[in-house]
Each structure stands twice: as structure tokens, then as C-alpha cells.
């Protein structure tokens, strides 16, 4: 069996592969270290992306707060030396 492409590994992770194909992939993964490692890497990448997604919500909130507050809209930056 050829190596499994990334899209199919993603579908496999989600359980979106037809039953017979799923069995073949599972068998392949038991024998092929390369594909098993790629699957593990995809799983880790997904976890990381979910964390990033949650942090992005915080970042978006901060961006909205900063924009609404107008902290940076008060004109040009001055060194404050002339104050």
C-alpha cells in the first residue's frame, strides 16, 4: 500500500473515512512508521491550532478594546521632553 496522503490522514483523524478504507489505513499505520509519525504530527498540529484559536479570541478582544479606547488615536507621538 502506498503512503497515505495528508488529506486522507485528516479525514481518518475525524473518522470521516469509509469503513473498509479505514481498516486498510489502520493496518498500514501499524506497519508504516512514517505515516504513523505524520498522523501524530497532524494530531499535535491540530491541538496547537485549537489553542491558538482560543488565544486569538483574547487577541481580538484586546484589539477591539485598544481600538475603542483610542489609546493610539491622540495624534503624533512626542518624546514628552517638551512637557
Amino acid at each position: 500500500m502506498k503512503h497515505i496522503d495528508e488529506i486522507e490522514l485528516e479525514q481518518y483523524l475525524d473518522g470521516n473515512v469509509p469503513l473498509i478504507r479505514r481498516g486498510l489505513i489502520s493496518m498500514h499505520l501499524r506497519k508504516c512508521t512514517l505515516c504513523a509519525e505524520r498522523l501524530e504530527a497532524l494530531r499535535k498540529e491540530r491541538e496547537e491550532l485549537l489553542n491558538i484559536g482560543q488565544t486569538m479570541v483574547r487577541l481580538v478582544h484586546a484589539r477591539e478594546t485598544v481600538t475603542q479606547s483610542g489609546f493610539y488615536n491622540s495624534g503624533k507621538v512626542s518624546s514628552g521632553d517638551d512637557e
Binding site: E6, G53, M56, F71
Partner: protein, 192 residues
């Protein structure tokens, strides 16, 4: 304004380019705010912090030269922000010296470790946001939407396919295309 590398942003800031300052405040302002929030600054102190950091950059621009081999921009920015926060806290607490305050703040090691962890995650999310924004100029909105929903919001690809009125295979192809482009973009941004 599209993606700007850190060296060119700093060079443009140095030459007094307003759009570079606007870029800086747009992309780094939220990170500054989050750091201030971590130290429980009040809204007026947050305002002070945002201005203090800008002023620090403004003052440093004549003698500051970005040399990636000497250190990352994010570390420099972190140092500037922390310095400004300590000054604000010092003013607030009326402490006599910076050293005492720094020791006081760093005393809670767990809290400090948590802050650093949050800072790391926020920087990573910041880089991904930049990359996705940049990809928004190159890829179809549908593809990015599928990626956001499936990978960042953990939605079921079947539901996304239904929502977008496309096949499940299309959702997987779109997510894969965005992910591959994103990996490239992240690499570019990390090297920029």
C-alpha cells in the same frame, strides 16, 4: 497595509513614516494591552502604558538598530513593555527603587511563569493572525472560513460542508490548502 517585515517597519518608523507607526500600534498595541492587563493595570494606566511604550520606541529610534542576530524583536519589545509597566507600578506604589519593585513582582514565581506562558501563546497567536490576514489577500474567503471553522473553532467538517453548501471533500481540500500556505507563511514571518 499588507505584511511588513520587522526590519522595514522599524526603518520606516525611524524615518517618521506615519503608516509604520500605525502598523506598529495596530499589531503590537493589543499585545501591549494584554501585558498591562496581566499586571492588572487600570484603564488609565493602560492608556499610560500604550503611550509610554510608543514614546520609548520614539526615543530609541535614533540609536536603535535592529540586529536579529543579537536578539529577537519580541524580546526587545517585551523588555520595553515590562520596563514601562514597572515604572507605572512604581509610580502607583510609590516604591523607592526599581530593583525593589522588580524583586517584589518577580517574587511569585508561579505567577511569573504563567505570564510568560501567556505571553508566548499570545505572540504565537499574533503571528498566526498576521499570516491569516496575509493569506486573506491570496486565497478565497470560503477556504479561509472552512479552515477557521474546522481548525481554529473545532467545528465538525460535515457541519462546515453543510454550512458552506459544498462537499465534504471540498472542505478537506480547502483546509489542507490553507494549512500548507499557512505553514509557509509562518516560516516567512518567523524569518522576517
Amino acid at each position: 497595509m499588507g505584511f511588513v517585515t520587522i526590519p522595514s517597519m522599524l526603518a520606516d518608523m525611524k524615518s517618521g513614516d506615519d503608516s509604520a507607526w500605525a502598523y506598529f500600534t495596530r499589531y503590537y498595541g493589543p499585545l501591549i494591552w494584554l501585558r498591562g492587563n496581566d499586571y492588572h493595570l487600570t484603564p488609565s494606566e493602560q492608556e499610560e502604558l500604550s503611550q509610554d511604550v510608543l514614546v520609548a520606541f520614539f526615543k530609541a529610534q535614533d540609536h536603535f538598530e535592529y540586529k536579529p542576530e543579537l536578539g529577537r524583536f519580541r524580546d526587545y519589545l517585551r523588555t520595553v513593555i515590562k520596563h514601562c509597566i514597572f515604572q507605572i507600578l512604581r509610580r502607583r506604589q510609590k516604591l523607592s527603587s526599581q530593583t525593589e519593585l522588580e524583586e517584589g513582582i518577580a517574587f511569585d514565581e508561579n505567577e511569573e511563569a504563567r505570564r510568560e506562558q501567556a505571553e508566548e501563546e499570545e505572540w504565537q497567536a499574533h503571528v498566526y493572525s498576521l499570516a491569516l490576514e496575509e493569506l486573506g489577500r491570496e486565497l478565497k474567503p470560503r477556504k479561509l472560513q472552512a479552515f477557521r471553522m474546522c481548525r481554529l473553532e473545532n467545528k465538525d467538517p460535515k457541519e462546515v460542508a453543510k454550512f458552506q453548501k459544498v462537499s465534504l471533500a471540498t472542505v478537506y481540500n480547502d483546509c489542507n490548502e490553507v494549512m500548507n500556505s499557512l505553514r509557509e507563511k509562518i516560516k516567512e514571518l518567523s524569518e522576517a
